[in-house]
Amino acid sequence: MKITVDEEKCCGAGQCVLIAPEVFDQRDEDGIVVVLEPEPPHDQHALTREAAAVCPASAIQVHDTP
């Protein structure tokens, strides 16, 4: 799994950090998303997908890799 984010779209809601704090964070200077684990380990896949599904700005893309 690979994650990409759209910083322009990000509205700083923080849902991704509340759901998957090991994968996402928010920048101190503006609250915009930071990806801590661009290729999250297996045990984070479900939470990562959930974070992407509920992002209010649809700013997180999950790409499945073989």
Binding site: D25, E29, D30, A53
Partner: protein, 406 residues
């Protein structure tokens, strides 16, 4: 008669406090763009389907229409929007495009998930203290008055560095901002003036003597170099945070607990499995049938919704609570499923204007459940759920009381 041929009076009437309006299902099915008359007599279009509501809320071209003719600010959400909606000039922060994004990021960085998580111990301490006082008085009480209302007030006052002793005044001002029917234009104007004067005084005091709080931090930045809030933005941001951080979450705490106790198997499930707290909070936000007025958008260009074209100049009301019950977006939408995942509900709006304070609200709601489950596992409603009463006239939906025993 089909709703297509009617002009419906909005907001709709409800038979009971926790159940959705009868109109929603029919409108979603047959009349997704309904014509409604608002309390002021003007006409608008009402959206009730999930996809339509989400798309309209997230459309960067449009922003809220202000209720009282003033310029509003931009933190739209189910819970905070109403408050922000009503701010009048001179209370204005940028509403559009890059200016809005700049403002949002300057304020939003103080409301991140991590910062809110750091406040958890303080929130829990406040909650414990409120429960000490409530349970010290007996074995039944109105949870709204003794817990749901004061908790977010103390939290936002602590964050802003304004004294919680002034909370009765905030309540009056915020009620004035949020109540559609109770106050005259004159009263509203007076209340806005008082709140602006109050906040200006606080900002002046923090300027002279900074303390460790959000207002002081914003002031410090605005006096430095680089991107910062203007003095006017600082004032309206302080006012918006105070009002928005107040009645909205208070009402949601009351409704969430009422929903969980209305069918007590829900409460018992949480007692058995507290790891469901996070998803329960999201489901309570989705399931809340009493979510308030909805968010308005004022169209500045023609927009197609399905087969219909809404002309430039139309006022659109987005009924997030109706959208959150849309069967095409949520399986078994009429069921409250405490484990529902993912739960992309629209209670906080969507897109560039979605609620700026949502991490704060979520954290407060989670802490509420953690503390209540720990302290009062025997909690139950003290009246039948069907006798709970809605607050009338508010932009933010709520219950007038939540009588409980333990």
């Amino acid at each position: 008669m089909s709703p297509n041929e009617q002009i419906l009076q909005y907001p709709f009437a409800y038979e009971t406090a926790l159940e959705p309006a009868a109109e929603w299902t029919e409108l979603r099915g047959t009349c997704p763009v309904a014509t409604i008359t608002l309390p002021d007599g003007s006409q608008a279009k009402l959206l009730t389907r999930y996809d339509d509501v989400r798309e309209m809320l997230a459309d960067p071209r449009f922003t809220r229409q202000d209720l009282f003719g003033g310029t509003g600010n931009s933190q739209g959400t189910a819970t905070t929007s109403a408050a922000a909606d009503t701010s009048e000039s001179p209370l204005s922060v940028p509403k559009h495009g890059e200016d809005h994004q700049r403002w949002r990021r300057l304020v939003g960085k103080w409301l991140t998930a991590k910062r809110m998580a750091a406040l958890r111990p303080q929130m829990a301490a406040i909650a414990d203290q409120l429960l000490d006082e409530m349970t010290g008085r007996g074995s039944s009480a109105d949870l709204k008055a003794h817990f749901a209302f004061p908790l977010p007030v103390y939290v936002i006052c602590g964050m802003l560095g304004v004294p919680a002793e002034d909370r009765d005044r905030f309540s009056y001002w915020s009620d004035n901002f949020l109540n559609l029917t109770r106050y005259s234009a004159q009263e509203r104007q007076t209340a806005v003036g008082e709140l602006v004067a109050y906040m200006s005084g606080h900002i002046a005091a923090k300027r002279a003597e900074p303390t460790d709080d959000l207002l002081s931090a914003l002031i410090e930045e605005s006096s430095g170099e680089g991107e910062a809030l203007t003095d006017g933005e600082l004032l309206s941001t302080g006012v918006a945070l105070l009002v928005a951080g107040h009645e909205t979450t208070a009402n949601m705490i009351g409704k969430m607990v009422a929903m969980l106790l209305a069918d007590r198997t829900r409460w018992e499930r949480l007692l058995e499995n507290p790891s469901l707290i996070r998803s329960t909070v999201e489901e309570a936000l989705r399931f809340d049938a009493n979510g308030g007025f909805g968010l308005r958008r004022f169209l500045t260009e023609d927009v197609e919704i399905g087969v219909e074209v809404l002309p430039n100049g139309t006022t659109v009301v987005c009924a997030m609570a109706a959208a959150n019950r849309d069967e095409t977006a949520f399986d078994n939408a009429a069921e409250m499923d405490l484990a529902r995942t993912p739960n992309p509900h629209l209670a906080f709006g969507a897109g560039p204007h979605s609620c700026l304070g949502q991490a704060l609200a979520r954290t407060e709601l989670q802490v509420t459940l953690e503390v209540l489950l720990r302290r009062l596992p025997s909690l139950e409603l003290d009246i039948p759920a069907t006798e709970l009463e809605r607050l009338e006239g508010l932009l933010v939906g709520g219950l007038s009381e939540v009588p409980v025993r333990w």
